[in-house]
Symmetry: C2
Subunit: 247 residues, 2 copies
Amino acid sequence: MSHLDLKLTDLKCGACPIRHRAVCARCDADELQELETIKYYRSFEAGQPVIWSGDRMEFVASVVTGIATLTQTMEDGRRQMVGLLLPSDFVGRPGRATAAYDVTATTDLVMCCFRKKPFEDLMNATPHIAQRLLEMTLDELDAAREWMLLLGRKTAREKIASLLAIIARRNASLKAASSGGVRFDLPLTREEMADYLGLTLETVSRQISSLKREGVIVLEGKRHVIVPSLDRLLEETGDDSDGGMLN
Amino acid sequence: MSHLDLKLTDLKCGACPIRHRAVCARCDADELQELETIKYYRSFEAGQPVIWSGDRMEFVASVVTGIATLTQTMEDGRRQMVGLLLPSDFVGRPGRATAAYDVTATTDLVMCCFRKKPFEDLMNATPHIAQRLLEMTLDELDAAREWMLLLGRKTAREKIASLLAIIARRNASLKAASSGGVRFDLPLTREEMADYLGLTLETVSRQISSLKREGVIVLEGKRHVIVPSLDRLLEETGDDSDGGMLN
DNA sequence: CGCGCGTTTGAGTCGAATCAACTCGAGTGG
DNA sequence: CCACTCGAGTTGATTCGACTCAAACGCGCG
């Protein structure tokens, strides 16, 4: 951790891995300079809480590396994940004093933080930041609505296939889109997948076993997944065959 | 329809019922002038489609009066409502060419429309509009996440109680917060409620009957609901007793 | 009157939750 | 080195809540 930490603390925005996708994506050199002066990095170990719902939130932040989750919990302990934060995703709401959800690091995590007040001031001064934040928020809203369809109407098997497809697609966009099968590590435990999908962990386990038994996926250990045919997997998601061409 | 239409077509922004809550809320007199020149009203009768998912969308709009829904449909016909649009809510996404969801008028509906291109230009020129749109989008995202908890983790009874509580709360904020019981008309059919809640219409009907049988609600006809004790209703939603104080 | 639509109610089924036992692998310490 | 523990995951038996299929109701309307 300290290695990474040191390296990242020195990082100039211009060399940042999420430079072109995060809330700062549209900023020009001058604006980056401004951001540079108010930013600071924080690291979290896998499993650590970043903030609890209701806590005072004195910063907003971008995920630089790693994965975090947003979850809501009911009094009796029922839990629902309401957001999955990947590198470049933004946490926190300008203009709100307290966190609305629990934020947890599910892998080792590095965040690029801005104290709320200076960030808000900067946002009011530089439309590029506000524009980008609006765009990102609209994307998140679309993702949330897709997710609502999954939670409300999909079967357990379709939910699992959809989750695998989302992760596979994300990795496929990084690696070459080789038709010869996608492979990736699950960034979530069975229980976290259950919280994501509105299922129990037992049902998650059963459905994964079922997809494995039928050859839709191959497992190497518990976490590493191989998808021989992405088309075959997509058939199981219940979605439109063609990924629904927006924009 | 033509009566209403005529009246509204003449409406100056300054006298608009949603003036202080819609996307134009922060605009000053000059900015309103600008908006005035590019806006136009459209009316839809209850049950009519406003736009279909995938259609080219040449405008964005605010709901002035009435209620509209956003829904997603799977190939096999399963439907999930992903948004409920009340007066002042905004429809459409700047920068996107086609609609992502089906939009339907569930009651008679009047919308204040802006052709997309002029609106985008105006938005880039006037930060007040972009600021307000960001704020509204963040609110919608919060609502969507609340809804995800409902869809993923709540029982049928809790879902119905939550929906009634949402409508009751909205009406309570309009009328005086009289402790002596809230009353309102359901703006949705049983089937639309089912699409909202991720249930079947039969289950919706059964749960409403059950709440009625136990005196949590009283029905006058099929659509008019009386809630003798809002606290009693809130107990059935599964939510935290104190509505979770955000902001 | 009869038709259609939204709604209610009933009987039976099924999918996912629950409760419980067991496996597997990594880490610990005697 | 091996026994032990512990957490993550798997699998089985059973239960239960919501879905499905089906029938009937009530109300407005031509």
